[in-house]
Amino acid sequence: MTKPAAPAPALNEVRTTTCYMCACRCGIRVHLRDGEVRYIDGNPAHPINKGVICAKGASGIMKQHSPARLTRPLKRREGAERGVGEFVEIEWDEAFARLEQRLAGIRATDPKKFALFTGRDQMQALTGLFARQFGTPNYAAHGGFCSVNMAAGMIYTIGGSFWEFGGPDLDRAKLFVMIGTAEDHHSNPLKIALSKFKRRGGRFISVNPVRTGYSAIADEWVPIRPGTDGALILAIVHELIALGLYDREFLVRYSNAGQLVNLDETSDDFGLLVRGAGEPGDAPGFAENQVWWDRHTDGPVPTHTEGADPYLLGEFRMPDGRPVKPAFQLLQERVAPYTAEWAEGITGVPAETIRRLAHEMGIVARDERVELPIAWTDTWGREHASVTGNPVAFHAMRGLAAHSNGFHTIRALAILMSLLGTIDRPGGFRHRAPFPRAIPPAAKTPRGPEGVQPNTPLAGLALGWPESPEDLFVDADGAPVRIDKGFSWEYPLSVHGLMHNVITNAWKGDPYRLDTLMIFMSNMAWNSTMNTGEVRRMLNDRDADGGHRIPFLVVCDTFQSEMTAFADLVLPDTTYLERHDVMSMLDRPISEFDGPVDAVRLPVVTPPAGCKPFQEVLIELAGRLRLPAFVDAAGARRFSSYPDFITHYETEPGSGIGFLAGWRGKDGAEFMRGAPNPRQWEMYAQNNCVYHHELPPSYQYMRNWNRGYMEWAQRTRIRRWGDPIIIQLYSEVLQKFRRAARGRGAGRKPPAHLRARVETYFDPLPFYYEPLERAATDGERYPLAAITQRPMAMYHAWDSQNAWLRQIHAHNPLYVNPVTARAQGIGDGDWVWVESQWGRVRCIAQWSEAVEPGTVWTWNAIGKQPGAWSLDVDANEARKGFLLNHLISDRLPAGDGAETSNSDPVTGQAGWYDVRVRIERAGAEEPRETAPAFAPLPRYPGMSKAIPGRIAYDAKGPAR
């Protein structure tokens, strides 16, 4: 700089919008200098990030200037193989004409032959609507291979989940236990909260095989073997019950702990909750019909009878002779063998530590109770003078979820949190609107193939929440209707679909073949798929007649990638700074603990001429295909553009419910429900692109059972029913599936080959089992667990093209504990082979004391195919970086030569972290490069001609 420091030229414009460098969705201010982005910082007026920004958000400029930008629609060059990336430019008109013709034909004959799968899941309100209106059941976002176990395990237990849907209340917690979390969806808010928590003197314990990121500042690190968290949590539950460190008052009133379970083995209703006489409540499963055994009268009474107090332990006989036990008794019996010593052998965590953790949780919860002077009324009419809370907060994510035993592990965690009395209470777990939802939420898929009809919208949602086997989406033989086998007997509660099965299933024709597969923003030919090499082969595989087994592949993305190379048609998307977007209450909004929040993105810069936002593509296609919600009675297009759609679309005519909840009604005075407001976008723009509806304090807690909140939720139509959401320590939903598997009851039954599987895994109480892949692995040959973590400065595959961010992580080593490395004669920095039973990869080993010795790990999605993402063919990512996915199978043997997906048998969650490996030094004569090797990708037409060898970004300005 030049002395003396002259003031910088004034920034001549500041626009607000919402970040999309990751899924956190912070408010940002984009400072422009003559229309060019000078600087992006956090918006201090935004509730999510309060002015802060992360490494990714602060590097948005480099995404804007990435040489990997696609700028023209492309079609695969005639005769070129898929995957080699040879394309010719076409006009949008041609792209739309081809899509229209092809999709109209599919829709008129068999709509399920069209599948739409999206990597990002924050546009589901629109993508889901499009798919449903099209009539295909084959739609999902990436949740099935991300963290569906987290959503399902918790929502089926407490009606809410970590994630966008809820989180730890670190403003009031005194003890915070984070399990299996590296970086998080709710990234900046968690960092803000952690810092405040630490500075208040809170104690932070991290349970993780690896100590990175957030865990670095933990007061205690508890290293654990991957896939064994369930054993740890169940042992803690055992200890809490054995010592009486549970919140009895909370469990009695707000969970099904005292509800009686029918144990009459001769009855078809064995294992179901006992229901009393009397009128059913408003909604299915309303708690009034369930029964306690009252301590005072020594007999059965309806739950919540005034003055009654249920037995939580014991066994009883109903007047008609049926043996019954309270759910809590069954839980106690379940965890009886799960001692700390038992768990030590599985988890590697010393029994003494497990007991200490349990005691600390229980005693902090009991003795450091928080009381807020907020009066509220519960569902049953009891008035409470204050809101109390037990200040033990948890957070967990993929470390628990991405295992084939993750659903039960997460159920166990939700039960632990409930025993401590921490659900929607200060200092514990807090919901975010539109949660809590009923258990399970009301959304349902069609129940059979008749729900899919030509030229007709799907007769239900493509994704739902089964309440019993009757809600499965299967044909009369119990075979799946969806291409990914979602909601079939194989993965009954696959509430986010199984995107990781789609390519394999479509290739095999199991359950059937597709015609057109459209993928939005997901790198399914590289880091987002298991079994990468084989999946790439399937994507390009042909039938005897020379046609591709997956006939037509459409990929929409902003950047050149490994996946785009396989497309027949590439649709160039815009960046987040170039488009309108909504974070909708119909999808995954950015709500706070204190009330609903939704937000928008507004374009701040102009996209390259050939790029089109995917939203606009869908609106255009929907109009051309005359999907009913998008056209009027005469078949004319109703919406001129995506912003126009957002303004005017209502979920049904006159419903007053649309994608955005803020500033509805003619004058913008309504929230959630109101007529379309033509000035709605403008009002968001004037208000930092965010609408925040703060609830009165009495509606901010205990929402599962809060009469005032529930009435408000009904009036705003966030919920249809106002029934309380009772915590399911004992899951009757799971028992209904087990009952069917046992051949009991009148309803649907699983096919014979899946009976044992359903019976085993649909246990109404959580249990620990080894991840399925372990059972199929020679543990002596493959003794190590191999996992990945996402670094804070990278968002999956997105950021290696970012010139600033890739300097932080240009390649990914394999981190190995020195004890493990030395045993194999592996030095720090040596090239090694990592081998699983499915494949092997060469990479660089780096010693680390911050990983437990039975685990090796690396950063996710740094390794790249040469030439992909516009990196030079000799870029570190392609030569020194590596992809662990080559070692992970998408399938597991299922006996008798059959196969099943490498997924959780309850939810279909991809079992990424179950793989077992061995490591050995690479030979001295071997190339010091990763293997397997892939041919370089070329640059596509329309991409910038050359990759710059040096850059020095400088936003233009008049004074410079």
Binding site: I53, P67, K191, L243, R295, R950
Partner: protein, 243 residues
Amino acid sequence: MTQLALVIDLNVCVGCHACVTSCKQWNTSGEAGTLGDENPYGKDPSGTFFNRVQTFEVGQYPNTETVHFPKSCLHCEDPPCVPVCPTGASYKRAEDGIVLVDYDKCIGCKYCAWACPYGARELDEQQKVMKKCTLCVDRITDASLPEADRKPACVMACPTNARLFGDIHDPDSGVSTAIREQGGYALMPEWGTHPANHYLPRRRVVGGVQPEDLQRVDNPLKVDGKLPRPAAGEPSLDDVTSW
């Protein structure tokens, strides 16, 4: 006399690198820019950064600490980089103690880099001048910015608020209070450079449960452990023997 400085709280830094890229972003288009990058999309990319985070491990498994350590120019009170500069390009501002480089005078000889014991100076390969943190002097002195924004970019960005900014010569400032009350320390004091920037150490909160906490009169098992009494009609010894 004012001495502006950063005080970095290692107790809350999670190593997210927000400070690294927000710094680069502000400064590359700012008065101290540009901050160029060599091979930005190729082998061994290498660019100019004023601030980097080093991560290292302390101790042996399982007693391992992972430490994220952000590092930039420490704006020494007695900066060794200034007297060695043959052209007078490196200087320390009297009014606020910021150490700066006048690019018009810098000849890129790197003497300052050799003199700096902290490795805080980098040669910009494109402009061939030495570059380093300016505490965003073009932000903090820009009266056209709202007052709340007149802070270094890294301080504004930091999600954990691990970066405190202020005058360490003012005993009542937030940074002086933090140094005083939280054991703030300077790096390598033996070099006599008196770095203005300080670091706050990790502080561990230890849990503790007393045995008597587990023996409580309000233990719910005192209620739940009391099972129903058997009905009078259930079989008993009264029925089977007369003794």
